[in-house]
């Protein structure tokens, strides 16, 4: 009836070869770039990485198997001789691979839940606490000071010299140490749990530290939380991961992980709220 019944063996087999080359390339480059992720600087980050690698392995097997199957079918079948009989009992052919996929899913979920529980479990009572507040387009930073308590804030109190809207009548706020948006570095101690209280003044932001593999949205009207234990000293970048307007790409901050001693010394040198807004 038509010219399309003419054998197209060359084309079929070319596609089979391309699919094999393609999947080989996928495996090669994925392994290469998985090895180039920013270094994980906290135990929780390392756990997330190991889950990531587990997922890569399992899904890698799926992608390889699927492409090899396609390639094999394209290579082998195509003329009368190669036709296979119709499979009447179809469900076992579906059930076995799908059963394996189901088991893989349950394993992902189980491993993920263990990590999730740690990330969102109650932070230790002795955690070092710091507040970050997103605004267009920088992060403000606040430490609770010697009393370990943050003073109350309210957006209605905001003035030029009181950018976080600290309540001047709240005694807990007198020793707070704050840096207006974009004007300070975020210092945290190494090997001690650090709890971040995350806020926003205007639109959604997301407090994101690629090196610990964590992020959490900053939502106006709410305080969200994130905690982890940094395990490596150094200077890192943190970012905003949620679209927040035209300066979104510039919302970069510097995170400094240092020894507790150094941190205490640095904190003691900073002016308090009582000094800045009497």
């Amino acid at each position: 009836m038509g010219s399309h019944t003419v054998s197209t063996t060359v084309e079929r087999r070319a596609l089979a070869v391309v699919l094999v080359v393609l999947v080989a390339g996928l495996v090669f480059f994925t392994i290469r770039f998985a090895g180039r992720m920013p270094e994980a600087i906290s135990p929780i980050g390392q756990e997330i990485d190991s889950l990531f690698r587990f997922l890569l392995t399992v899904t890698g097997v799926i992608v390889i198997a699927a492409h090899l199957y396609l390639a094999a079918v394209l290579w082998r079948f195509g003329d009368e001789r190669a036709q296979a009989p119709i499979v009447r009992r179809q469900w076992p052919w579906v059930l076995v691979p799908i059963g394996l996929l189901f088991l893989a899913d349950i394993t992902f979920d189980h491993k993920s839940n263990k990590i999730w529980g740690k990330v969102f479990g109650t932070p230790p009572a002795d955690a070092f606490t710091v507040e970050v507040t997103g605004e267009q387009f920088a992060w403000a930073i606040r430490y609770p000071g010697k009393d370990g308590k943050f003073g109350k804030t309210d957006l209605r109190n905001i003035t030029d010299d009181n950018p976080l809207g600290l309540d001047r009548n709240d005694p807990a706020g007198k020793d707070d140490i704050f840096f207006p948006a974009g004007q300070g570095e975020l210092h945290i101690p190494v090997n001690r749990p650090v709890l971040f209280l995350i806020k926003s003044k205007d639109v959604l932001h997301s407090f994101c530290i690629p090196w610990v593999r964590l992020k959490m949205d900053a939502v106006p009207g709410m305080t969200t939380k994130l905690w982890f234990t940094p395990s490596k000293e150094g200077q890192y970048e943190f970012t905003c991961a949620e679209l927040c307007g035209l300066g979104h790409y510039k919302m970069r901050g510097i995170l400094i992980v240092e020894s507790s001693d150094k941190l205490e010394e640095w904190l003691s040198q900073q002016p308090t709220a009582a000094d800045l807004i009497p």
Partner: protein, 579 residues
């Protein structure tokens, strides 16, 4: 089986496209052409985005002349960049893919494949198209107003989208965006209602539910999802408009923007995210289901094999559709919603892979032992299978809550949904276009051009979208105007250049499709009723089918849609109408 027994005159194409029609095929073509036009618009936006991201700090000579406001000094302004990103996403997801799959192919194919003369509500159907066209005009009008088009992302998260001062595009542009979305949803509801009613009530004699081709099943489920999910966003859009213009506080708490206090009380931005993703996630399956159905049928036809596991695949599609409605929270793992909620959402999300994988296995099983006819629609179907697997597994990383902590809002997400939603769905659309083109226009598209189109597109697709996953693994955030300010992203810039180069090849390859499409309309090989030797009903009528589709009597169906190859009692295939 011959050509030329259609004596009914068909009006010229331009007239059929411009009149208010109640004929499902004309409405289908109206949707089809409008949606492709919107794809062109979305593609131009993508071109500008990639041009900028490849070289964010370099002036591009002609940009300033083209966009005196958006690209002063030949470099895109951040606000213009965000408008491009927002409009590209919105246009491609809703105004191209949704419109062409349900409006275009749904309209054209449903009555033909079930043996009806038209839709259940032909007037509603015509109205649906014209409301859709209006929504396209309103959406694009955003580019012409002060402040430019909406720039809060295709997800339009408040308060960025609810407070006019928050971003330039949050002025009239955002209002037009919301109105256009509301109109689009109204149009889509009229369509969905029609498709569901038609499929359930207007099947011809003998066309039982279990004799429907996979195409119809997938369109049916897609329409049901649309009907359930879309109205929620309409409600959300109206509430957001109230927040913007009438001082309400559904999604907007007290905020301090641009140096002044905006005293709203009690609103919660996360509520919008629930509204949006309650639509937004089923939307992904509204888009992915029809291509699965198309590819199932196309693969069966060109492998000359009965579809493997028809009932298994339908069962899986039902489960998939159901699951897709209860997984929206995986977009919100780090939104500040209760972390306990993430656990069921995460589990349900990764379990989507089970019914999804089942359908893919059924398509893969169909290939086993095939007698392949390597045509362009078949090649695009194979490309679909490859991309849907590669893109699909990416979803496991994002659905697993703990890995999403790192990958959320990075280019991994962009790469993932461009591989599975943008590319594989697009491949389904290409396969369907090459496959049903003869039925639409009476001629076949050129195979030679079609195959060039496939090979270039296939290779460029992988080179464009897989490296985006690597950017995400490196930590690059999505929707950033430039990564160059970050030390940890500086090393990734060569990947951005590669992606842009590959994307340009990908876009250039689409000209082959455009040329083929219009060239074949006049010069293509004349198609018989059934050029692919397929079994389903649309191939039993002339190409293109006359008004009313069938002659004096409706066809009677005696068998399922897959009596192909070895199981056809005699010959190579038996049409559904063979007694």
């Amino acid at each position: 089986m011959g050509i030329g027994h259609s004596k009914v005159a068909i009006a010229p194409l331009w007239r059929r496209l411009l009149r208010f029609s109640t004929d499902h095929k004309e409405i289908g073509l109206q949707y089809f052409f409008t949606a492709w036009l919107m794809a062109l618009v979305g593609g131009v936006l993508a071109f500008l985005i990639r041009l900028h991201l490849g070289w964010p700090d370099k002036p591009i000579p002609f940009l300033g002349r083209l966009f005196p406001h958006g690209a002063e000094g030949n470099v895109l302004k951040p606000e213009f960049y965000l408008a491009l990103v927002t409009m590209h996403g919105t246009i491609m997801v809703f105004f191209f893919q949704t419109a062409i799959l349900l409006g275009g192919f749904g309209n054209f194919l449903i009555p033909l494949q079930i043996g009806a003369r038209d839709m259940a509500f032909p007037f509603l159907n015509g109205l649906s198209y014209w409301v859709f066209l209006l929504s396209c005009v309103v959406m694009i009008a955003g580019f012409l107003v002060e402040g430019g088009a909406a720039a809060a992302g295709w997800t339009a998260y408040p308060p960025l989208s609810s407070i006019q001062e928050a971003v330039p595009g949050s002025g009239l542009g955002q209002t037009l965006w919301l109105l256009a979305m509301a109109l689009f949803i109204v149009s889509s509801l009229m369509g969905s209602l029609n498709y569901i009613t038609t499929i359930l009530n207007m099947r011809t004699k003998g066309m039982t539910m279990t004799r429907l081709p996979m195409t119809i099943w997938s369109l049916l489920l897609s329409a049901v999802l649309g009907l359930l999910a879309f109205p929620v966003l309409t409600a959300g859009a109206i509430l957001l408009l109230l927040d913007r213009h009438f001082g309400t506080s559904f999604f907007t708490p007290t905020v301090f923007v641009g140096g002044k206090l905006i005293p709203r009380e009690g609103g919660n931005p996360i509520l919008w995210q629930h509204f949006f993703w309650f639509l937004g996630h089923p939307e992904v399956y509204i888009l992915v289901l029809p291509p699965l159905g198309f590819v199932a049928d196309i693969v069966a036809t060109f492998a000359r094999r009965p579809f493997f596991g028809y009932r298994i695949a339908i069962g899986a599609a039902l489960i998939l559709a159901f699951l897709s409605c209860i997984v929206w929270g995986h977009h919100m793992f780090v939104s500040g919603m209760n972390p306990y909620l993430a656990m069921p959402f995460s589990l349900l999300t990764i379990l989507v892979s089970v019914p999804f994988g089942t359908i893919l296995l059924c398509i893969a099983g169909t290939l086993w032992g095939g007698k392949f006819r390597v045509t362009t629609p078949f090649l695009f179907s194979l490309g679909f299978l490859s991309l849907v697997t590669t893109g699909g597994v990416g979803g496991l990383f994002l659905g697993t809550a703990s890995t999403d902590l790192y990958l959320h809002d990075t280019y991994f997400v962009v790469g993932h949904f461009h591989t599975i939603m943008a590319s594989s769905v697009l491949y389904g659309i290409f396969a369907a276009t090459y496959y049903w083109y003869p039925k639409m226009f009476g001629r076949k598209m050129s195979e030679r051009l079609g195959k060039w189109h496939f090979w270039l597109t296939f290779i460029a697709t992988y080179l464009t979208f897989v490296p985006m996953h690597y950017l995400g693994m490196g930590g690059m955030m999505r929707r950033i105007y430039s990564p160059l300010d970050y030390e940890f992203l500086a090393g990734l810039q060569p990947i951005n250049v590669l992606i842009s180069g590959a994307a340009f090849v990908l876009m250039a390859a689409q000209f082959l499709f455009v040329v083929n499409f219009f060239w074949s309309m006049r010069r293509g090989e004349i198609a018989s009723e059934n050029p692919w030797e397929a079994t389903t009903l649309e191939w039993q009528v002339p190409s293109p089918p006359p008004h009313g589709n069938w002659g004096r009597d409706l066809p009677v169906v005696y068998r399922g849609p897959y009596d192909l190859g070895p199981i056809a009692p005699k010959g190579d295939f038996l049409p559904q109408t063979a007694p």
